[in-house]
Structures are given as structure tokens and as C-alpha cells.
Chain length 299, copies 2
């Protein structure tokens, strides 16, 4: 075939989206091959990593989750190369920002069979830090009540894979800025997570609760950090199936991910919660590794 390089349309679209910097297998690119199985099937995984002062925060945890995810999908990666490329990539960027690391099964022919696709693609994208109102962190947020329900699929539950249409559909439900995040239930009306966060709440007896991820949901790196910090402090944690009735009885509620850290939840449906002390304690622990002030918008 005749290769259409330079790829004008690819460059034009990447520029339009203000793509800052992107590496494919260590090489600076604007695009990826049209044969990549990440595009065709969502056949891959990703990690969204906050970079603070050139340091990828919680990198070992991200890498470990990626490694486990690749194992479950049968994708072979060399963690050493992934780490080395990440370091090289970050060295070329600004001090603070977001790296999105994607691993796909690589390029292949037509058809679902992954046989023959044995060179996984490593993709690194750089994004500036997002901006959020300071009050999201300081006073808490209001959760939108997503009507899109998460399906059940134990084979993929917990994974941060590239099949994310459910989150796209849920996030599409609202445009109103008064909701900083939306809460998603599953087909059985059990609480699972936010569209981009995990959810926790503190019960009256001080125990910390978060939904288990047996049937759906993403096992967030910040979720894991929160669980570990609680356990180290002697706070009992429970991962179960819960309904909104359980949430309604909570004394504090928060959502978390590895970019924002923690946002207290102050309202959802007819319920509201005060800013809680455990929430604030955990926020302080996270702020020590990645200051939330860097995300405050000027508005």
C-alpha cells in the first residue's frame, strides 16, 4: 500500500483537540495505527496518573493494577519498559499534569481472535491538570442521579479496561455544572461508583463502607489507598452490596480518584450530609502527596 504520510487529517484532529504530547512505543506520534485492537475492540487497559513535581503519584499501584489487568486479558507487557518510557515521557513535560497510559493488545487483522497480535502497544498522552472549583474539595459536591445502570460482567469487573461506553452514556446524562459527578447503580439497584470515581461512606458506628466490585465497577487506585489508610488507622472497612437506603443512613459520604483525590459529597437525591471528619482526615493524607490546590480553578 501507499502510506499516507504525513497524515494530514490525523494531525488536524489531534491539533484541534490540543493534544499536548503523545508517545507510541517510545516514539512521538499524533496517532496510532488504524489496525490497533484498542480501537477495534477496546482491547486494552489504561491508567490515569497524576504527575506532581515530575513525580507520577501512586505509580507502583498504577503499575500493579495494570499488570494484573493485562494478566486477566492475556496481554503480555514488560513492566520495566513501561516504567522507563513513562519516566522519559514525564521528563519532557511540564512539572504538573496528567499522564494517560494506555496498553492495547496491539495491531492485528480483522476478527476477535487475538492470535497474531503479540506486540502490545504502549501509548502515553499528556494532559494539563483539570480545573475544579475549590468548593468541590472544601464544601463538597452534589451527585447527579444517573439513570444509566451498570451491567453485570464479573469477567471484566474491577478492570480499568477500554470498554467504557457505560460511563460515556452516564456522563452524557447531565450538563449542569451544579453536579460535579454522577452516581451509578447497577441492574439490581446496588450502588457501584461514580462515573469517574469510587464512592465511600462512613456509617454511624464509624465504619467505612464501599461497594464490592464483583459484578462491575473499577478498582480505583485511590480507593485502594483509602482502604489501606483506614485499615492502618484501625478503622473497620467493609466491601458489600449496598442500596441507596444504606447511603441515606451514612454520616459522611465522599468520592475519590487518583486525579482529584477526595471530594466530600454533600447532596444526592433528597439527602444531604455534613462535611465529615474522616473525609477531611483522608483528604489531608492525600494532599500531602498531591496538593489539591493545584486543581483549583480561578473562578
Amino acid at each position: 500500500m501507499t502510506f499516507a504520510t504525513p497524515c494530514k487529517e490525523v494531525d488536524r484532529l489531534a491539533e484541534q483537540c490540543r493534544l499536548n504530547s503523545c508517545w507510541l512505543n517510545g516514539e512521538a506520534v499524533t496517532g496510532l495505527p488504524a489496525t490497533d485492537r484498542g480501537l477495534h475492540y477496546g482491547d486494552g487497559l489504561f491508567e490515569t496518573i497524576r504527575v506532581d513535581n515530575k513525580q507520577p503519584i501512586w505509580w507502583q499501584q498504577h503499575l500493579e493494577r495494570l499488570r494484573l489487568g493485562c494478566q486477566r486479558l492475556g496481554i503480555t507487557i514488560e513492566p520495566g519498559i513501561v516504567e522507563q518510557e513513562l519516566q522519559g515521557f514525564i521528563a519532557e513535560q511540564k512539572d504538573h499534569g496528567i499522564v494517560k497510559l494506555m496498553i492495547t493488545r496491539g495491531s492485528g487483522g480483522r476478527g476477535y481472535s487475538p492470535s497474531g497480535a503479540n506486540q502490545p502497544a504502549r501509548l502515553l498522552l499528556w494532559y494539563p491538570l483539570p480545573n475544579y472549583p475549590a468548593k468541590n474539595f472544601q464544601q463538597g459536591i452534589q451527585l447527579f442521579d444517573c439513570q444509566s445502570l451498570l451491567g453485570h460482567q464479573p469477567l471484566l469487573a474491577g478492570l480499568k479496561h477500554l470498554n467504557r461506553l457505560e460511563q460515556v452514556l452516564a456522563r452524557q446524562e447531565w450538563n449542569d455544572n451544579q453536579f460535579a459527578e454522577g452516581l451509578m447503580l447497577d441492574l439490581n439497584q446496588h450502588i457501584v461508583e461514580g462515573t469517574m470515581t469510587n464512592v465511600f461512606w462512613v456509617a454511624d458506628n464509624g465504619e467505612l463502607h464501599t461497594p464490592n466490585l464483583n459484578d462491575c465497577g473499577v478498582a480505583g487506585v485511590c480507593r485502594q489507598f483509602v482502604l489501606q489508610q483506614a485499615q492502618q488507622r484501625g478503622i473497620a472497612t467493609t466491601q458489600e452490596r449496598y442500596t441507596v437506603a444504606d447511603l441515606a443512613k451514612a454520616k459522611e459520604v465522599f468520592v475519590c480518584n487518583s486525579v482529584i483525590g477526595i471530594w466530600p459529597v454533600r447532596a444526592y437525591r433528597q439527602w444531604s450530609w455534613p462535611l465529615g471528619s474522616l473525609t477531611q482526615q483522608l483528604q489531608a493524607l492525600i494532599n500531602a502527596v498531591m496538593p489539591c490546590e493545584r486543581l483549583f480553578s480561578k473562578q
Copy 2:
């Protein structure tokens, strides 16, 4: 940013996979932008279209399914442009082959919200016809018993979307050539479909059965053709929930898609079925629009 054109790594990988020809929004390319939401979230749909003598077979049905899928995902396409590009693309290719048409929500920033991504990407890829043993068509195939179960997600059921990890995991289960396809059940052990086909069977009373697609599965274009042909011939068709016990009692079984047409099923688990007359009748109808002989391998 500095654009890395020509994209050496993109071209290298595309060439390695023998990418024949690819258009992005009407322009010949080897890759697509790294910002495309098809890659990041599987945020899009596809059609696999058989081309016979320069004619895209069942094109109106493919386009109609694509249009409905885009509607459900909230992606706006102009069918006229899609059709025009397909025609221009096919004109440049060989007489017979496969076009894979992908529509993604287009390029966007980081985050699930589709807001701002309002230029869907149109991607056309050309593949040679696949080769299959003539006996797949003439004597029937043996179905592999996939252990990967399809999850339940009514929001996405029926759609030919780009979130296809379930099919990848199922297709990964076997490498043995004696199985030309694998049968997938859902979480409740109901029969749904093959990894790349829909499944039908004829009951003792002559009625034609195929699983409904309320919770999962792809509403295949060939499935629709089969249902219509049966109805036109006064053959009762039923779409229900079925278990393998129902399949076991069938007098003929077949799988179908819009590339292969129909393969009779001769064996699955401990059961076997003879080559049936309705199966052969339907095969003949399909052969009239796209001859199966073109797919016979020389082996």
C-alpha cells in the same frame, strides 16, 4: 506541539498488519488521532460489510443499523456522506472483499463527557475475503463451548459497538481449528450468540428460534435477513430466552453473519445435528446475493 509526521511507528505497525487501505473522513491514512474516543472508550460503532463485485451486500440494512446505533449512543452522522465515502472507497478496491466501517464519536479531551466531541470520525478499512474450508458451509461446523459468559447490559444490547472485550476473551479460549466458532451463553446460562455470529435452530414443529437480544448480543444484519426470509415464507419465528436444553432438542442448527452467510452446526458438546433442509434453503437464498464459494480456501 510539534507533529511527528510522518508517523514512522504508525506506518510500521499498519504495514506489519498488512493494512490494505484505510480512509479517515475521506482521506487515505494509516492511523487515526490518538485523541479519538473510539480508542479511549470504545465510543463508537462498526459494520462489517461484504463486498461482492463492487457491491456492498445488505448495505441499506447495515446503514440502518448504524443509524439506529448512533441514535442510541447520541452520535450524529450524515448517512449521505457515509454512503458517498463508502462508494468512493469501494471504487478504489478489488472486486471482492470486506469493508469495515467504523463511526466513532470523534476526537475529544480527557474524560468521559462527550461534550465538545461533535465531529464523529468515519473510518473505512479494506480487508481481503477470509478463507474457510468448504466443509464449513457444506457439512457444517462444530461449536466450541465458550466459558466466558456474556454480561447483561440492556443499554448496549443489540448494538454493534466498539466495546467488544467479551468477544475477544471468548475467542481467546480456543485455538483448535476443529472449532470454527464458539457459542456464548449469558450469566443466566441462556444461549445468546456465537462470538462472531448469531445462532438459529429449527424445532421439531418446523418453527425457527433465535435468542432475543434484550440483555446482550448483537442484532446481526444476516440474522435480520434470515428472520425476514422465514416470515415471508410463512415459517413461524420466535425470539425468546433459551437454554442449551432447548438447543439439544432442535432438528437443525445454524450460525450466520453478513460475511460468511450461514454455516450449519453439526456438533456442540455431546449433541449433533444433521444438515437440515431449512438451513440449506436459507443458504441458497444468501448464495444468490453473495456466493459462499469465494470464501472457500484451497486447503
